[in-house]
């Protein structure tokens, strides 16, 4: 059954890809290798997973303000996520998505970290704040 969630546009655009979901915040400095897209933070539940081409679903950002350019660098290296979904977007992540032109939504009508499962196929229409989720 396809689910439809409604949220707020942070950065416009449309994208479709498999979900990569975590309940832990993500920091792009020291947390993600921007040359490979692999998550590297020791102790992070997604350590060893790759963000490239995924719809990255996480509660919010944390840590270094270097994160904005690192999101841009990951996208420029072709290993960025195709879209991002947050509970509440934090400024460093928002700026990264603006400059990297990664569609991003937050404040959905149900908690995205719970409503979306790893591997679900997710279609993000950020312009209209609509997220369609098809279970894997």
């Amino acid at each position: 059954m396809e689910k439809k969630l409604h949220g707020r546009k942070v950065v416009g655009g449309k994208a479709r890809g498999p979900a990569l979901v975590t309940s832990e915040p993500i920091c792009f400095l020291g947390g993600v290798d921007v040359n490979t897209g692999m998550i590297t933070e020791v102790g992070h539940p997604l350590k060893g997973k790759c963000i490239a081409g995924k719809v990255l679903v996480f509660p919010t950002g944390k840590g270094s303000t270097g994160g904005s350019y690192l999101i841009f660098e990951a996208a420029s290296n072709g290993v960025g996520p195709c879209a991002m979904i947050n509970r509440n977007v934090e400024q460093v992540t928002a700026i990264g998505c603006i400059i990297a032109e990664i569609p991003m939504v937050d404040k959905l009508d149900s908690d995205p970290v719970a409503a979306i499962k790893d591997g679900d196929m997710v279609e993000v229409d950020a312009d209209n704040g609509v997220v369609k989720v098809s279970p894997a």
């Binding site: 915040p25 590297t40 919010t60 350019y69 996208a75 700026i95």
Partner: protein, 417 residues
Amino acid sequence: MRLTREEEEMLAGKRGWPIQKSMEILVQLGEIYEAEKMIEVSHVHMPGSSVVVAGEAGTKFVEKMAGLGGKFCALTTLNTGALNFDAWEETGYPEKTYKLQRRLTDAYSSMGAVPCHTCTPYLIGNCPRRGEHLAWGESSAIAFANSVMGAYTNREGGPSALAAALTGRVPEYGYHLQENRYGHIEVTVNTKLETVDDFGGLGYWVGTIAGSKVPVFTGITQIGADEIKALGAALASSGAVALFHIVGVTPEAPTREAAFGGRKPEQALEFGTNELRDARQRLNKHQGQPVSLVCIGCPHTSISEIAQIAQGLAGKKLKSGVELWITTALPMRALAERCGYTKIIEEAGGRFVIDTCPILSPMAEVAKKKGYSAMATNSAKLAHYAPGQWALPTYYGSLRACLDSALSGSFDQREAR
């Protein structure tokens, strides 16, 4: 958003592409966070000053701004870079990093930035006053500016700080508004905290829980400038804390009521000896390997920290094969030299590394080249980032334990559990 006529002109491209692009970024950001208007900023501290963060893509973006005539209209200091310009080869940094960093630093400088490359601008001349609006990046400096100086800044990322430097504006939301500066979480400290690593442990433990909320500490009566710097840096590493209050110490917390703005805390935490032990355990990630690198200066060392290091090393020699890095700002090293500390530290075998730090430099390459076995530090921020960034086992403990490990090559296990 309501823009002034001048801001409308910026957005329309009448002041050139760099200012137009900047205004677009700021308006987009303002719309996300429902800002009503722009406000003027007097200082910018520029994150994305290291090529480890900016990369090729970010460097090209900054170069484009500079190439098309961008000029900074607010005092702009550069955050930590990716290497020490004066001795990068002997420190072990690769030439490709030097070439890219040179381009990035030159691009920022040509727009008017002060290329001080430090994470502690507040120690070397970019010292804000209470209530001043800033656009600062560098998570540890933001926490210091908001909490200790009582200035107002959000957590600016590289592109938004660049836009703020070019336009002198940021959207008015978040920590620029008084209503968002009151505490959310009460943290009662009921154990005696003295050293930088004690306060780093507190910050690391609380940051994990606080996320981006505002913690209010009670029960801290004595805290020095170095300890408060470590506390803020740790809070902003495990969490996204941009502002904290210490009742009776920081300017917006003369009383508990003032810190919470008369509201009830959403959450109450207690921090005692068990919590401190828990934080220390989580920050120590090693299997007893010998120490080959000791790093002090995350955030960059103050002159008082350098004095303590000199005192600890006077007349002694580091164990052969162990490196001691003291990361600091150029003016602080100059002062250390005048005080005679540099001579003592260098004679013992220690090394000053200016302009950079292990977190914002290509440390994985240096560690590989030099075959480091483990690192020791008294910085919770560095201990938090290092294992994920360059997979090096890490010891966390007091300055004394770190210096002892530089002299003996092994870390006092009582400190490293």
